[in-house]
């Protein structure tokens, strides 16, 4: 079957088996290998991309269901010459060790900063109406991204740094 996706601003038509996941389409058909496959079951967040602007696990998306949708991957938010504020902050703060989870962390954090600015609540918000970007909030909101190297404190520092830059 055929599906049209806009990935990082560029339209692609892919021919695929109905079983194809969005993750496999990105990595194997479009050769965008920045998005990683950790668990393939929604448990680790390494495959996080933005789907129509919202963060999702691409391993749990069927490509067939996303005809006409817009996808942003790590390749779409910056380049080695022009890093996004979060990418820069991860480099500066050493927000990784092996780096395998990093694209997912950065995609997730990109969406998280926007969600907070829009007032989206979390389970740990004292008040469901006015969430703040505290360390506890960051840990909760980023809990869908595991890091086997346990770089969590530095990941949160990098996100805090990028959020200050963008304010």
């Amino acid at each position: 079957m055929k599906t049209t996706l806009t990935v990082n601003g560029e339209a692609h038509e892919v021919t695929h088996d109905p079983r194809r996941s969005l993750l496999d389409t990105l990595r194997d058909d479009l050769r965008l290998t920045g998005t990683k496959k950790g668990c393939d079951h929604g448990q680790c967040g390494a495959c996080t991309v933005l789907l129509n602007g919202e963060r999702v696990n691409s391993c749990l998306c069927l490509t067939a269901m996303h005809d006409g949708d817009e996808v942003t991957t790590i390749e779409g938010i910056g380049s080695p010459e022009r890093l996004s504020a979060l990418q820069k902050a991860f480099v500066e703060k050493d927000g990784y060790q092996c780096g395998f989870c990093t694209p997912g962390q950065i995609m997730s954090a990109t969406a998280m900063l926007r969600e907070i600015s829009e007032g989206a609540p979390s389970y740990v918000s004292d008040d469901l109406e006015v969430p703040k970007l505290t360390d506890t909030e960051m840990a909760e909101r980023m809990s869908g991204n595991l890091c086997r190297c346990s770089a969590y404190p530095l990941i949160r520092e990098a996100i805090a740094m990028a959020s200050e830059v963008s304010q």
Binding site: P18, H41, G45, N57, S108, E115, L128, E140
Partner: protein, 334 residues
């Protein structure tokens, strides 16, 4: 994953004879490991009549395709049914909640490890085959409402809050008729057919969930205990909405998660609280009444004291006897 035919539904009529897929976060996971092997998959995500949240008088109608994220963040829900926001936000991760839908969440399958392991016998996968959890390990299994054929628990946080809030599920039957089923009648106990979890039949489509009018002034709490601080299924959870006049509890709506094959209710406990002065002694009596029965599996015996403590803590929180962080008061629009 086994091969399947994929089609996109253009109308509610198109779902008969096929496995519905919405967010896919549970179904695809199970298809990948061949616990579920549908031959036909029907994608309902383009059915615009299943989207959106709308007021129905004082009540709220939540379309079956509304995502968990959108529902938890909805301004009306945060004000009028904050328990539901909290419970949803206590589940899964943002990535999953962005895809997970209201209908799909109600129908998510159990997390019994043997259900996931196709090399083991499981009556929920293959009725009549046996239950590997009995004689096996099972600290995620249920405490109450089980049968000799299946001890599995329903893990939904959202459904537990909806049970406390006395929600109804709106279903469109294959005949085209629409019915509204109270959530307490929506799920079935396992009996000798643990594979059949609800009253739904082939061709039925969940179209919405309806919340009754908000209880102005009620104090609401969703307390979830799990193995890690976030992104883990509940071992036990308590959803509470408590109304008071002075120190007296005038109404307590309670439901318990991850301890039964469906969100669990106990009327005796709710009645014990009604009209009484909030006190630790009262809460201890309620907790004892809730956990009188023994666990059906030795590995879940620990859930009894855990559930007692969780109920007491939730009630202390809701009544102001304890720390009130994470407690929300229902506001109705001025």
């Amino acid at each position: 994953m086994r091969p399947f035919d994929y089609s996109r539904a253009d109308s509610a009529k198109d779902v008969a004879g096929a496995q519905i897929i919405a967010g896919g976060t549970n179904l695809l996971d199970l298809m990948k490991i061949q616990v579920m092997t549908p031959e036909k998959l029907v994608d309902i995500t383009r059915l615009s009549e299943l989207t959106g949240i709308s007021a129905e008088g004082d009540r709220l109608r939540i379309g079956a395709l509304v995502t968990n994220s959108a529902l938890a963040a909805d301004a009306r829900v945060r004000a009028g049914w904050p328990l539901l926001s909290r419970a949803i936000l206590a589940g899964a991760s943002v990535q999953i909640r962005n895809k997970a839908t209201t209908g799909g969440n109600l129908l998510q399958r159990t997390r019994c490890p043997y259900f996931y392991d196709t090399s083991q016998v499981c009556n929920k996968r293959n009725p009549g085959e046996g239950c590997a959890a009995q004689g096996g390990t099972g600290r995620m299994l249920a405490l109450y409402g089980t049968s000799e054929h299946c001890l599995a628990a329903h893990p939904s946080d959202m459904a537990t809050a909806m049970a406390a809030l006395q929600a109804e599920v709106e279903v469109m039957r294959a005949s085209g008729d629409t019915v509204r089923i109270p959530l307490r009648d929506f799920y079935r106990g396992p009996g000798d057919r643990p594979d059949i979890e609800t009253v739904l039949e082939d061709g039925d489509l969940i179209t919405a969930v309806i919340l009754p009018a908000p209880r102005a002034g009620a104090r609401q709490v969703y307390r979830k205990v799990r193995d890690r601080a976030s992104y883990a299924f509940a071992l036990v959870s308590v959803a509470a909405s408590v109304e008071m006049e002075g120190d007296t509890i005038t109404r307590a709506q309670l439901a318990y998660g991850s301890i039964a094959p469906h969100p669990w209710k106990n009327h005796e406990v709710a009645e014990m609280l009604q009209g009484q002065t909030a006190s630790d002694a009262l809460f201890h009596r309620a907790a004892e009444a809730l956990t009188r029965e023994e666990a059906p599996h030795p590995d879940t015996e620990y859930k009894r004291p855990l559930l007692r403590r969780t109920l007491i803590a939730a009630l202390r929180q809701a009544t102001g006897l304890g720390d009130t962080a994470g407690t929300d008061t229902v506001r109705t629009p001025a």
